[in-house]
């Protein structure tokens, strides 16, 4: 039985997405940016699951499954890049990584 309307779930995921986008845009630590990206992916998953539950169609949950797969791959490769970056530049602040800036 669903008694909480669909809008509430969508609003919650919109708020979570906005908080994550604040983190991506304003923080300079690369790990915090990673966490914010994971939060934004989570909010999109929340939207998909909400629509799936209200439509009574499990396809949305399969999309969530694939989003989680890509998120796991992204986290693994991203943190490997982070470690390589820290080893060569001794910093994980994105504003200090400006080798391409002339």
């Amino acid at each position: 039985m669903q008694v909480v309307p669909l809008e509430y779930y969508l609003l919650l995921s919109g708020i979570l997405f906005s908080i994550g986008s604040i983190g991506v845009l304003t923080r300079r630590n690369m790990i915090i940016i990673f966490m914010s990206i994971e939060m934004m992916l989570n909010s999109v998953n929340l939207t998909l699951v909400a629509f799936s539950a209200f439509l009574g169609n499990p396809s949305g949950q399969i999309f969530v499954f694939f989003v989680m797969t890509v998120a796991a791959a992204e986290a693994a490769v991203g943190l490997a890049i982070l470690l390589a970056l820290f080893r060569s530049k001794k910093t994980i602040y994105v504003d200090e990584v400006n080798m391409l800036k002339w």
């Binding site: 809008e7 779930y9 919650l12 908080i19 998953n45 949950q61 989680m68």
Partner: protein, 166 residues
């Protein structure tokens, strides 16, 4: 206000509060640990939406995998003692621009979500979604499923190659 409403608001407050701590905290360990509560709250909302398989997957992949990986990243790249833990923001101008664009984005999202008249069809009370998801994964979505497995293999090899000590 019945029990489902109370549970929804409980998890919603947990999600929003801990997400704010993740983004705004100056201490990166506080961020990492409050991310745990964000993921946990989202898993609770999934249970509320009858998505049992996705809720368990969320607990296993996000909390058991990605969060542990992030904490490893924190441990390997920051000194636990000293000022390295502090993570500031990037200047006032970027803060203002980031806040403004987020305000526009979030406002648009919330306006669209509120103004659209969504379908009010009552959801079908399902017993378990595991069977339906498993059948779909091995019939309609077989090719994406296999592609995902290749993607994970590539990501694993790539991560090991990049992070390897020369």
């Amino acid at each position: 206000m019945n029990l489902v409403d109370i549970v929804f608001y409980f998890f919603a407050v947990i999600i929003v509060a801990s997400a704010a701590v993740v983004v705004l905290s100056k201490n990166i360990m506080y961020s990492a640990f409050s991310l745990l509560f964000t993921f946990f709250g989202v898993a609770g909302i999934y249970v509320l939406l009858n998505a049992d398989f996705i809720a368990v997957t969320q607990l296993m992949i996000y909390i058991g995998g990605i969060l542990v990986l992030i904490i490893f990243g924190v441990m390997l790249t920051t000194k636990i003692t000293g000022l390295e833990m502090k993570t500031g923001i990037t200047g006032k101008a970027q803060y203002a621009i980031g806040g403004l664009s987020t305000l526009v984005l979030g406002g648009t999202l919330i306006y669209v979500f509120n103004s659209t008249s969504w379908f009010k069809s009552p959801s079908v009370p399902t017993t378990s979604t595991v069977e339906a998801i498993g059948a779909s994964l091995l019939t309609n979505y077989l090719l994406p499923f296999e592609a995902a497995s290749v993607l994970l293999l590539l990501a694993m090899i790539g991560a090991a190659l990049i992070a390897r000590r020369k």
